[in-house]
């Protein structure tokens, strides 16, 4: 009995050594080259960045930008790789990234300094701020009206953090994802839902009754979006950033922006001149 136990423990140690040894020290480009798969983290219900459309396909502005990065990776490695999409959420995405389940988070992740302790970010590819979405006719017009009201956020998001730290009078209710939070808002369980302004516009226009919802507020936080990747991986980061810079320089970015935020799109959101300048200044010379 004792000998069997000892043998079991020894074999477990050997197995874990064998399994763990190659996994952790590969760089992302090596991993993609060896496995032939480039996995990105996406969302199911965050229009227009990353969502599942009416034809039941994955689509979105972030997804399309990720496709450009995919092509750049193929060019860099000189071989075909498959791009796979895996669903992530604010609470799970960093863990999925560091455990190597996904290689790049391409949904709606805000670049912040605390997060840079755990992951690296690409260039900023979109800027927005946090606002509130309320039912039409609601008395809430901004942060001075939210004291004592039930405000919904997503678990693990920057919006939850801002409300928890700066607006302690508001009653915070958190949900695992946007779909659950929006359903609670529709059912009257929330007085307002707080998320990045552009995503609230996306929610409004994608809902069954867009006229029933109003986006209010004045950007209670600054939310620059970046693609997140594992730390200490400068080669991969260079590939991602170069792909984004090529897209901004070569007009691909602006074409995609027009597709998802232009006047004919589902979520019209004209490009701010300051933002355009910021984008162009991020493109360092060739």
């Amino acid at each position: 009995m004792k000998r069997f136990g000892l043998a079991l423990i020894l074999s477990l140690i050997i197995l874990s050594l064998a399994a763990a040894a190659p996994a952790q020290t590969q760089s992302t480009l090596e991993k993609i080259k060896n496995s032939g798969v480039f996995t990105i983290g996406v969302r199911n219900a965050s229009p227009p960045f990353s969502f599942i459309n009416k034809q039941n396909e994955r689509a979105g502005f972030s997804n399309d930008l990720a496709e450009l990065i995919h092509k750049a990776i193929e060019k860099k490695l000189g071989k075909q790789v498959k791009m796979e999409m895996k669903e992530t959420s604010p609470a799970t995405r960093i863990a999925l990234l560091t455990s190597m389940s996904v290689d790049l988070i391409t949904e709606t992740m805000t670049d912040t300094r605390p997060r840079r302790d755990s992951v690296d970010f690409s260039l900023t590819y979109f800027v927005t701020g946090a606002d509130f979405i309320v039912k039409k006719g609601s008395p809430i017009k901004g942060t001075k009206d939210i004291a004592g009201k039930r405000i919904g956020t997503q678990q693990g998001s920057t919006n939850e953090r801002v409300l928890r730290e700066k607006y302690t009078q508001a009653q915070l209710v958190t949900f695992p994802d946007q779909a659950a939070a929006f359903m609670a808002l529709q059912q009257g369980k929330l007085d307002a839902y707080c998320n990045d302004a552009i995503q609230l516009w996306g929610l409004k226009y994608k809902s069954a009754t867009p006229d029933q919802w109003v986006v209010v507020g004045d950007w209670i936080s600054y939310e620059p979006y970046g693609f997140a990747m594992r730390k200490n991986d400068s080669d991969f980061r260079a590939v991602v950033n170069n792909a984004l810079m090529e897209a901004i320089e070569g007009e691909e970015y602006f074409k995609l922006y027009e597709k998802w935020f232009g006047t004919k799109s589902d979520v019209p959101y004209p490009m701010n001149q300051t933002f355009k300048t910021f984008l162009l200044y991020q493109v360092v010379p060739k």
Binding site: A20, A91, P114, R161, F175, P176
Partner: protein
């Protein structure tokens, strides 16, 4: 540190657990878990005794109702039930009632409803097994002494059944405590939620989740030792055959 030889670069930082506000979150989460578990447990045991007994009475329509309750509620995953009780059930109430619920902790009470009804069905099965383990002769003896069916159940059958079911009931109680962690999906800020919160704020996943695991372990071990003590204290001498100590 200790995982260095595996090639991992994780840095342990256990102090995040007792730094404020993380410690407050953990304590609040623990208190919410205990509240949720104790209220749900009381309701579930009540439902379990009622429906478990109903499944064994010699009167068919009552048995059918009880069987319907048990099969309906235990055969759907608890997570689905929680979504139903939070997103579905409140819609059936008139608007003023709903608004009152919303202002008074609807997330917590939906979780209580979901967990207690689900575990009530499971307790009913445990209690039914206990009752049916009692020989039919006890019921006949009670009836022939002049007691009604209800009185026989109340004075003879159920007290014995309660003693017989302590082990499986302990199992179900521990399941109930662990299932309270599902309430985080409908916004209840209990212990698992608090641990995830610490994890997202500090990115120290191992520390945060180990603390939650440790606290659940301590809670469950305490419950099982209390149940063991109860079993000993209320045992009816001669009711259960006790074997001699096992020989290795």
């Amino acid at each position: 540190m200790i995982f260095g030889f595996l090639g991992m670069t994780y840095e342990f930082k256990w102090s995040v657990l007792w730094a404020q506000p993380h410690l407050t979150w953990l304590i609040d989460g623990l208190l919410t878990t205990l509240r949720l578990a104790s209220i749900s447990w009381c309701i579930a045991v009540l439902l379990g005794i009622v429906f478990g007994a109903m499944r064994t009475v010699p009167f068919r329509p009552v048995r059918v109702v009880a069987t319907a309750y048990v099969e309906f509620f235990r055969n759907v995953p608890l997570l689905v039930w929680l979504f139903f009780w939070y997103f579905g059930a409140p819609e059936a109430f008139p608007e003023p009632v709903r608004q009152w619920f919303i202002r008074h902790g609807i997330e917590f009470w939906s979780a209580v409803a979901g967990i207690s009804v689900y575990h009530g069905a499971r307790f009913a099965e445990v209690i039914r097994a206990g009752i049916q383990a009692i020989p039919r002769t006890q019921l006949e003896a009670g009836l022939s002494s002049g007691l009604s069916v209800a009185a026989t159940y109340r004075l003879i059958i159920i007290p014995i059944a309660l003693r017989l079911i302590v082990p499986p009931a302990t199992n179900e109680s521990l399941n109930l405590l662990k299932n309270t962690s599902l309430a985080m999906t409908i916004g209840v800020a209990e212990l698992t939620f608090a641990a995830r919160q610490i994890e997202t704020y500090t990115a120290k996943a191992v520390e945060a989740l180990t603390s939650a695991a440790f606290i659940y372990l301590v809670l469950c071990l305490s419950i099982s030792s209390v149940m063991n003590w109860l079993e000993g204290k209320f045992a009816i001498p001669g009711l259960i055959a006790r074997g001699t100590g096992a020989e290795h």
